[in-house]
Symmetry: C2
Subunit: 268 residues, 2 copies
């Protein structure tokens, strides 16, 4: 995963003494939102970073930056990577895709340039390799710069934990969908699975709710907003209003366990 390894100790303290003559781009998975659920490794790298970069929408604080509030070293240099404003462009248009591709190209070049002389920590909510925005940089950086990815707990793991109920037991099947799919596809997948996670709900919530109702699963569905974070809300989806769902929310249905009482490691 890592093209080269420089011991963490070299980059401790900020501004660092004995700065490396060439650095890495380190993408640190932040986990679901509670800083206590960050990995020991991500925690240490973020606290000792001299340069941090993170995505955010123009004019917003940014979720990733909010998670590390109070953790950054004095003197850290921040690089907010602000998405271009594209509200006037249809998301499936070539112009929209060009604007985003240009944005990722430009930041890949800037981060690569920074990493010539020092480490840069890129903050990424959840796990960088699970529906993460970092992958658009990753494809542009790989092979051109020393690159390291620190896994993070996925947002969905944080969310099923705050319900206090296991998501999968025994031989349950778990399916992860995005709320952006057409209703017929949502229904087909919902019918085929035991446990379910729906990412990217937001404005898609009415369609997700309808698909769950049509497959007889609405009553057992949960809506988790800001899971593990301040302002967390955990409710039954049936009790939620369609117009009351931020993008940063997950819908889930727990499995019931096909063969619950088995010793770990046993096989049929």
């Amino acid at each position: 995963m890592s093209d080269r390894v420089i011991p963490d100790s070299v980059t401790q303290g900020c501004p660092a003494q004995g700065r490396p003559t060439s650095g890495r781009i380190i993408c640190a998975g932040l986990g679901p939102g509670d800083p206590e659920l960050m990995s020991v490794r991500a925690d240490r790298l973020i606290r000792s970073a001299c340069h941090v970069a993170y995505f955010r929408k123009a004019g917003r604080a940014g979720q990733a930056r909010r998670i590390v509030e109070g953790m950054l070293a004095p003197g850290v240099i921040e690089h907010p990577m602000e998405y271009p404003v594209t509200t006037e462009l249809p998301v499936d248009s070539p112009a929209y895709r060009d604007a985003l591709a240009g944005f990722y190209d430009s930041w890949a070049a800037r981060l690569t340039d920074l990493a010539r002389t020092q480490d840069v920590v890129v903050l990424c909510e959840g796990d960088p390799f699970f529906y993460g925005s970092f992958m658009h940089l990753h494809t542009r950086l790989q092979g051109h710069v020393a690159l390291e990815v620190v896994p993070g707990m996925t947002g969905m793991t944080g969310c099923w934990n705050v319900t206090g109920i296991p998501i999968t037991w025994g031989d349950d099947v778990l399916t992860v969908l995005t709320g952006t799919m057409p209703e017929a596809e949502l229904i087909r997948h919902m019918q085929a699975t035991d446990a379910l996670v729906v990412m990217k709900t937001g404005r898609n919530l009415p369609r997700v709710r309808s698909a769950l109702a049509l497959t007889g699963r609405l009553e057992e569905a949960w809506l988790i907003e800001r899971g593990t974070m301040p302002g967390q809300r955990v409710i039954r989806l049936a009790e939620a209003h369609d117009d009351d769902c931020p993008y940063f929310a997950i819908v889930l249905v727990h499995g019931h366990g096909r063969r619950p009482e088995r010793a770990q490691g046993d096989e049929p």
Copy 2:
């Protein structure tokens, strides 16, 4: 999730000064195996624990115990919860189920008794609520004792990270299956998904491989053994031998991204 909260500071040090007059059972998710991928919270709780309990097979060191090697406080009291030997019983027999149920009942009672006067940390590989053995204790403990679950990074998250390739992009569907399923069911789910994780491979590997071949996905499948741990092996499944797969291995197929270039937070 927690019935009552006692500050961590009360239980720091072992044997503790100022021990609480009543304790909790804390299940700490250990993550995929690398101790650096444990959460900050699990790391702290494990290092300060006076009592730790963990599942293992009779005569084995136990994977959970191995992960925390070197982390436990001097004077810690260990409670290995050894699965009953049931090799003579068919796994679907009532006698097998009774033996396991009795085992979980007995440990639920012993842990509850311990927690009358002190905290007990139960070690659980991966995330406790994702195919975890802890849930058999959880159902028996909930409502009877102060209980807390600390989420862990799932084993599959560690495994897809060590391949260095994103598991899901854009609007990919991810399906998690167990290798214990009949081949026809494996095939049906494999056909319907973009990205795939197969848990509980081991002796089921030939069936999993056959189902992947029949759905045209064998060439893009990976086998990860002991992901993020010493002795880690990451190979193409097509190159693996059927008789060369421990239970502690995961098969995965990466998604390709249905709409890769989108700004995070955008919706159609």
